[in-house]
């Protein structure tokens, strides 16, 4: 079963963190179709987060068609987020690791790599909208 980690310092609101963690778990294959999500009470007991926050996150996931509540039993995974199949991530992760090794050898530190990534993403976004 998935457990949630909430970062109090993040700019992302708690409910969105839960949504993102569920989606990420689905992408990575940690959660699969038919798995049961922790109950609101269990999440609250583990993280001390407001119950409404968890409810809101689960409602968002339900609206996106990823989960479905079943009366008296809990909330179950019924769909995966749109995107490449789970294997894609591991393939891309390997080629990224290779690129990072090359960047490090070239002398870039983590901050420069992140900066480079942000600029590249922005440029790509602008290209798409152009």
């Amino acid at each position: 079963m998935i457990s949630f980690r909430l970062d109090g310092r993040s700019v992302v609101p708690p409910y969105l963190q839960i949504v993102q963690q569920v989606r990420q778990a689905l992408r990575m294959g940690v959660l699969d179709l038919g798995d049961k999500l922790p109950t609101v009470r269990e999440v609250v007991a583990a993280t001390a987060v407001n119950p409404n926050t968890v409810l809101k996150a689960y409602r968002d996931l339900e609206r996106d068609g990823l989960v479905e509540p079943r009366a008296g039993q809990g909330t179950f995974v019924v769909g995966r987020p749109a995107g490449p199949p789970p294997g894609t991530h591991s393939r891309l992760a390997r080629s990224l690791a290779h690129w990072v090794r090359g960047a490090r050898e070239a002398g870039l530190d983590d901050e420069s790599i992140e900066s480079l990534l942000r600029i590249t993403l922005r440029a790509a976004a602008e290209e798409e909208t152009a």
């Binding site: 909430l6 109090g8 700019v11 609101p13 708690p14 609101v40 009470r41 609250v44 007991a45 583990a46 993280t47 001390a48 987060v49 407001n50 119950p51 409404n52 926050t53 809101k56």
Partner: protein, 302 residues
């Protein structure tokens, strides 16, 4: 979120004056059922006074207050519906936890001692030891367990986590949130620790200078505010269209915390969302002396 028809708490112009001091002035608030509300404010702002008025421990000198639909009183029906935890965690020092459970069982019509016992066992709090010999964290957990065992519909907590270490704080808030998740419980919780409140609370009452500055769902309140950063210039137009909460002015830059009265159209200002801590500090800074703001601008000319 759907709004409840019945508010757990509703006050109008609530005031409390002692001979020369006004502890609370014209407080008008509303807390819907099922919320965990954060009562925030500097020391002496009136938080304890407000909680005591809501619990019926003190009588107001002006205004109206309705708690669970009724005026706070001393009748058993009202007392059964509320739970109050004072800052000093008043328990009988020479009694054991078991004794306190006994008192609760004898005096309350609705009493769930078993869940309290299970909870205390889970936290390894010894039931046979005198309360005076327990640690601050254990006393707070015991007091919370006793208050929850009454099965109240409204819980009023006055700085219950102030003396707790981070783990104990987390356990306390988790216990609280679990009880709310079970349903039928509203909580008002006063604290200084904004990070905790941000995680566990979804409603906010902000007091400063004995007055209510803000009252509402946290998401809504945050959405109503913005931080504007821009070059130092005349801000009258902005102040006219919106409510200025707090401003920091340096030689070249001005940072404004505003409550929006509409869309912000001035392109010279960069707008960003405001977090709970920044919002709270902004409102509390309104009523503090301006000197601290200047201290942060080392090297800048005024």
């Amino acid at each position: 979120m759907a709004s409840s028809a019945q508010a757990a708490i509703r006050t109008s112009g609530l005031s409390k004056r002692y001979r020369k001091v006004t502890a609370l002035s014209e407080a008008t608030i509303s807390v819907p059922e099922g919320r965990i509300s954060a009562l925030i404010g500097p020391n002496g702002a009136g938080k304890t006074t407000l909680l005591r008025l809501l619990a019926g421990l003190a009588r107001p000198t002006g205004g109206d207050v309705a708690v669970l639909g009724a005026r706070p009183g001393q009748d058993p029906a009202f007392l059964a519906g509320i739970g109050f935890l004072a800052q000093e965690i008043p328990l009988y020092q020479r009694f054991t936890a078991e004794d306190h459970l006994g008192i609760g069982a004898h005096l309350n019509s609705r009493w769930d001692g078993d869940s309290a016992r299970r909870r205390l066992d889970g936290l390894s709090i010894p039931l046979g030891q005198k309360v005076g010999t327990l640690s601050g964290g254990q006393r707070a957990q015991l007091a919370l367990a006793l208050t929850l065992a009454k099965r109240p519909r409204l819980l009023l907590l006055d700085e219950p986590v102030a003396a707790l270490d981070p783990l104990a704080r987390r356990q306390f808030l988790a216990h609280l949130a679990e009880a709310v998740a079970d349903g039928g419980l509203t909580v008002v919780l006063s604290s200084h620790l904004v990070a905790d409140l941000e995680r566990t609370c979804d409603h906010l009452i902000l007091l400063a200078a004995s007055q209510v500055q803000l009252c509402g769902d946290i998401d809504t309140v945050l959405a109503e505010h913005q931080v504007l950063v821009g070059p130092r210039k005349d801000t009258t137009a902005i102040e006219r269209d919106h409510t200025l909460v707090h401003a920091v002015r340096t030689a070249r830059q001005v940072t404004l915390l505003i409550r929006r009265g509409g869309p912000v159209v001035d392109p010279a200002f960069e707008a960003s969302d405001v977090g709970l801590e920044e919002l709270v500090l902004g409102y509390m800074g309104q009523h503090a002396s301006p000197a601290p703001a200047r201290l942060t601008m080392i090297g800048e000319e005024q």
